[in-house]
Symmetry: C2
Subunit: 119 residues, 2 copies
DNA sequence: TTCATGCTTCCATTATTATGGAAGAATCGA
DNA sequence: TCGATTCTTCCATAATAATGGAAGCATGAA
């Protein structure tokens, strides 16, 4: 994954409405939800919602699937996976730092090893 | 974690320079790096870098630690953990969907269960 | 065809963010 | 105290993004 792609995905999520939409879809599972349902659930006007769904689609964080008159949007779990992996890549230069992103964090900060600050 | 906090953190990462800075610090480990070193590494002018470091600090994704004349910035692994956890919360409404963020994704998309689209 | 429904595109307005030069601290060595 | 080094704040400019009403398009029902 390229950094520029990650930026697009992060930017897509860095907006309250879009983050709510995405999280709703993450919970909804692979069936997804229609814009109407999302609008109803989150109280976002149709035009605004459409704009945000397009942003999330552009980032490939969600998929759209036409089903008769309805469009079903669903979370793209694979893309999200890759994004999360990208953020923790080469964490701590390979030393074990107990970084377990999918876990409720419970103070996993290793003691700093003392080392002289020098140029 | 509140959605608004997540938005702040995601926005902090949704910028190419800042994402590069953050990833550099993730790799650097708990000792962190000085702005001088980061600037040298990424070729970002001092003023711009300072601005971005402030953004990352505000989001609490990085910590700053003064050490004599130098400031050491380091990744806040715990915050990142919480952010990643937040994104995958209640994933697929509890059904197993094999979402393992810290793993290289290898096509973990379950078959969609058919279900009628209805209001 | 005609109508209702579901969703998108258009567009103008408003708000937020990025950039980097210049000047201003703060710290340390001599 | 002086000067060098390191980093931050200030500021103006430029660029990008969010919002939602109105109009448009596509689908399906009758």
């Amino acid at each position: 994954m390229k950094a520029s792609d990650a930026v697009i995905q992060l930017a897509a999520l860095a907006q309250e409405s879009r983050l709510n939409i995405f999280r709703l879809l993450v919970v909804a599972g692979t069936d997804g939800l229609t814009p109407g349902k999302i609008s109803e659930e989150l109280g976002i006007p149709a035009a605004t919602l459409s704009f945000h769904l397009k942003e999330l689609s552009r980032a490939e964080l969600i998929d759209a699937r036409q089903e008769s008159r309805y469009i079903h949007y669903s979370a793209n779990y694979q893309q999200m996976n890759q994004l999360l992996g990208f953020l923790t890549e080469k964490c701590c230069a390979g030393k074990s730092c107990e970084l377990k992103p999918n876990t409720t964090a419970k103070g996993s900060s290793p003691k700093p090893k003392r080392k002289q600050a020098s140029k």
